[in-house]
């Protein structure tokens, strides 16, 4: 039977990347203090799953590499090694290398072999050279080198002939779990010289033979000085699916000591705690086979923790998904199912009502329709929630970033995160990452001072960066705050003047000055540093956030710090829109961009330099954008501004008046992508289907204002649009 393994690859990669994230955040978490055993266990398990998965799918480089990490982590877990700074850094770097390897494997690219080898070397060095490159038997170094030697000495059997006696009796259903005893035995053979005795005792008569059942058992003797862990690891995946025993060679009877057996379940120091004497219990009369009814407790414990993960893996693997999958909390799905149930009930109720309808039943019909509407709305909301993921998906990379940057720049920084469970749209998760990275880099590079500078300013040596997310009034607010030196108001102003962004006469308040950093071509970094001088300006940050329908604000106090506040819409799949008419076409303007809509009186109109139209709104002169011109409408309706409506919108801190023919109505619209089958169009953010089935385009206000400025620049090279 041939199974296309590729369909499971995606799940493997997804879970592996998740696992790497877990390892990384775990490593960062306990760098400062004493390691928490549960955290180490979590890291170890994550590494172990990656190794197992990689092995299963034949990514041997990855599994070999992960094996080294796992060995190191295993030692930490068993308390044989302290996770010092050096080990932690090597592990972190290994996570990076592993991530690259996984990416390369996923994309079918060639991994960066020298880098991998270098990292292997580093890992192996930490392990005191005890583990060589390919898990091949290592003749003597196991007993050499201080920390590991102790560790291994306890594990490697002390008999004259080092090695292990293994009893392996698969349960009948083993094949159905996808395991192959032959593979395990072959891998054992790689550890050293292996004697294999197959026990055919379980084999039924030929006519009773069920070919898909496993009937064989093996007694194996491994002549190799390998740690117990390594042997057990090979059987990890068949645990619970076989009877398994392990005994050091040359020690024929260790008395089973129940107190010892339960002594240290977490570390499992003793090679074999139970043996044939009492566990076999005479159940199966096979003298040569040491069987264990139950595996040692530690394994059981481990297994229980891993089981849900594996089950999920299988469940996910059974249902291969496309390149863009999402993991959904079962609660959300249950809610959804309940709602569909309600909907079905309402629908059948209405169906019955409709079968012999009379006017007496009108009230019930109305009631039923109201119910239908409510359920539909609830259903819509819950479906939308499926796209929502906790923002921790994005936040989780920042501890590492801060840790690395702080070290690189010689600054002491603590990152405080809150509201990681705030749910945001999947698209936001994907797109907000880069802007946030940029802002945090900025805070660390330019905001937080060096320790000596901080001390001199009377501040604690350690700088703090706060990253938070919360829901507020139908929006998601993300805040990045630092307690650094704040923005250099005068430097910004000076730079802006040098760049011609403002004239010397312009009198700007603090907020207007801070907003200048979002202007294209503005960068205050005095020297281009590796950290934030990547040719990407804050203008790109702002543009990316605007593309998500959000906005960003800066607030800064000299000497006290800077705060960036990002406001994003809750969901990107639905928006509150104002329908407008331009000529005979209908467009949707996002309500969030609209300040107000007014009818302009002729005396409010004005002209700038004979071309740019403006109107006066209270004390401000706003540019007028003729929508029929920008949208190139073939049959423009109204051409006199005072005959139509001016919709005042705000974009990028400035206001504009959009001249349209008419306002139609406000409605929630479901956003459909134009790009799915077509392409991006300037000034259009998407499309929606109206009640009558026709398509209306949704305007992208920043894009529209850009189009309008371009159009006017074509005629008049310079028009000041600032009030």
């Amino acid at each position: 039977m041939h199974i296309d393994m590729a369909q499971f690859h995606q799940v493997f990669f997804e879970e592996s990347f998740d696992g790497l994230d877990a390892i990384e955040s775990g490593l960062l978490d306990f760098t400062p203090g004493e390691p928490d055993p549960e955290a180490i266990n979590a890291i170890f398990r994550a590494a172990h799953s990656i190794k197992g998965g990689a092995g299963t799918f034949g990514f041997s480089r990855i599994s070999d590499f992960t094996h080294l990490m796992e060995t190191l982590l295993g030692e930490v877990r068993e308390g044989k090694r302290r996770l010092d700074e050096e080990a932690s850094n090597v592990l972190l770097a290994s996570v990076d290398v592993l991530r690259e390897m996984l990416t390369a494997a996923r994309d079918g690219a060639e991994p960066d072999a020298p880098r991998i080898d270098a990292q292997r070397e580093a890992l192996a060095q930490i392990l005191d050279g005890a583990v060589s490159s390919h898990g091949a038997p290592d003749p003597e170094p196991i007993l050499a080198g201080p920390p590991l030697a102790q560790a291994s000495a306890e594990q490697v059997p002390s008999g004259e002939t080092p090695g292990w006696k293994i009893g392996f009796r698969p349960h009948r259903h083993l094949f159905r779990t996808g395991n192959d005893p032959l593979r395990i035995i072959r891998e054992l053979g790689e550890l050293g010289e292996l004697e294999v005795v197959c026990d055919l005792g379980g084999l039924p008569a030929l006519d009773a033979l069920e070919p898909e059942d496993s009937h064989l058992a093996w007694n194996l003797v491994l002549h190799a000085a390998v740690p117990e862990e390594e042997v057990r690891d090979l059987f990890e995946w068949v645990e619970g699916d076989c009877d398994f025993s392990l005994q050091p060679l040359g020690e024929h009877s260790i008395p089973a000591d129940p107190t010892e057996a339960g002594a240290d379940p977490e570390t499992g120091q003793h090679p074999v705690s139970q043996n044939d004497a009492d566990t076999q219990g005479g159940r199966e009369g096979r003298p040569q086979l040491k069987m264990l009814d139950r595996p040692p407790e530690r394994r059981q414990d481990d297994d229980r923790r891993q089981e849900p993960e594996r089950r999920r893996e299988r469940a996910a693997g059974a249902n291969p998904v496309g390149g863009n999958s999402i993991r959904v909390d079962t609660d959300k799905i249950d809610t959804l199912i309940n709602m569909v149930g309600e909907l079905v009930i309402t629908q059948s109720m209405l169906g019955v009502l409709g079968e012999d309808f009379s006017m007496q039943k009108l009230a019930r019909l109305k009631e039923g329709l109201a119910q239908l509407e409510r359920h539909t709305r609830e259903l819509q909301e819950s479906v939308m929630r499926i796209r929502m993921l906790p923002i921790s998906f994005t936040f989780s990379r920042f501890p590492r970033l801060v840790h690395d940057l702080g070290k690189q720049l010689g600054k002491r920084i603590e990152l405080h995160m809150s509201g990681e469970n705030t749910e945001v749209d999947k698209t936001v998760i994907e797109k907000i990452g880069d802007p946030l990275v940029h802002l945090i880099r900025n805070s660390i590079d330019h905001g937080i001072e060096r320790p000596e500078e901080r001390l001199a300013a009377g501040k604690p040596e350690t700088g703090h960066v706060y990253l938070s997310a919360e829901h507020r009034a139908g929006n998601i607010m993300i805040e990045i705050r630092d307690d650094g030196r704040g923005l250099g108001r005068d430097r910004i102003l000076q730079r802006a003047r040098e760049r011609g962004l403002v004239s010397a006469e312009d009198n700007l308040n603090d907020k207007q000055i801070y907003d200048l950093v979002f202007k294209p071509g503005f960068s205050t970094a005095e020297e281009v540093s590796d950290v934030s001088g990547r040719g990407v300006g804050m203008d790109v940050v702002q543009r990316n956030i605007n593309e998500l329908g959000g906005s960003i604000e800066i607030d800064s106090r000299p000497g006290q710090g800077t705060r960036f506040t990002i406001r994003l819409p809750l969901t990107l799949a639905i928006l509150d829109g104002q329908a407008i008419r331009v000529g005979d076409e209908t467009y949707i303007v996002p309500l969030v961009s609209i300040v107000e809509s007014i009818q302009v009186e002729p005396d409010m109109l004005g002209q700038v330099a004979g071309k740019g139209e403006t109107f006066r709104l209270r004390d401000e002169y706003l540019p007028i954008v003729r929508m029929h011109a920008v949208l190139d409408v073939p049959n423009p309706g109204k051409t006199q501004v005072e005959q139509g409506i001016v919709v005042v919108v705000e974009s990028g801190g400035s206001r504009w008046g959009l001249f349209v023919d008419d306002l139609l109505g406000q409605q929630q619209v479901v956003i459909k992508s134009l790009e799915a089958n077509y392409q991006r169009i300037a000034g259009i953010s998407g499309a929606t289907v109206l009640g009558d089935g026709s398509v209306a385009l949704i305007l992208d206000i920043p894009g529209i204002t850009r189009l309008a400025t371009q159009a006017s620049h074509e005629h008049e090279p310079q028009i000041s649009l600032s009030a």
């Binding site: 390149g323 880069d434 802007p435 990275v437 940029h438 990407v536 790109v540 940050v541 543009r543 990316n544 593309e547 076409e585 920008v630 949208l631 190139d632 409408v633 073939p634 459909k672 992508s673 134009l674 799915a676 089958n677 077509y678 392409q679 991006r680 169009i681 300037a682 000034g683 259009i684 499309a687 289907v689 089935g693 026709s694 398509v695 209306a696 385009l697 189009l707």
Partner: protein
């Protein structure tokens, strides 16, 4: 380069005969054109599309295809022929382009649909460089029929050219 040749399509979807494929044929300016039937999603009567601003004239607009927004192109205009009034006979062929991983739909406005023909691969020859209505880069081959010839459209080439020339802005900015 990814060319949606007849053999290529057949390899993806082994539906047609061993060495042949079926083609939906239609009329354009009195000439016969064909597209692989495996690429055809559906045929609909013309209905008004929503115009998309600042797009080329052959882009009629977008329509709602069961919740998906699908662009519709006027093939006559695309190939530089005189525009015709849309009538009741005017049909829109919705076709699928691109690989299965990156499939897109587009609608093509044609005068009328004529037939479904099975062609053997050996009946399809290369496109000679001579004068016909359609630019040769959009053709994937030419088939000789009893009553004339059939030009097979390369839908992927159409889709590609469309995204090349229609790109209104530089690629979206990256942080």
């Amino acid at each position: 380069m990814h060319h949606g040749s007849a053999a290529g399509i057949e390899a993806q979807e082994p539906m047609a005969d061993e060495q042949g494929s079926q083609y939906l044929t239609f009329l354009l300016n009195g000439e016969q054109y064909g597209v692989s039937i495996l690429r055809v999603q559906e045929i609909r009567a013309w209905e008004a599309a929503t115009r998309v601003p600042n797009t080329p004239a052959h882009m009629c607009g977008v329509v709602n295809l069961r919740g998906n927004i699908v662009p519709v192109y006027d093939l006559r205009r695309w190939f530089g022929l005189a525009a015709l009034e849309y009538t009741r006979e005017t049909v829109v062929i919705i076709v699928r382009t691109g690989s299965s991983a990156d499939a897109r739909s587009m609608g093509l406005v044609v005068e009328s649909v004529s037939d479904v023909l099975a062609l053997q691969d050996e009946q399809i020859g290369p496109t000679p460089r001579f004068d016909h209505s359609v630019p040769t880069q959009y053709l994937q081959g030419l088939a000789t029929l009893e009553h004339g010839m059939l030009m097979l459209l390369d839908l992927d080439a159409l889709a590609r050219s469309n995204s090349d020339e229609g790109e209104p802005e530089a690629a979206s900015p990256r942080a």
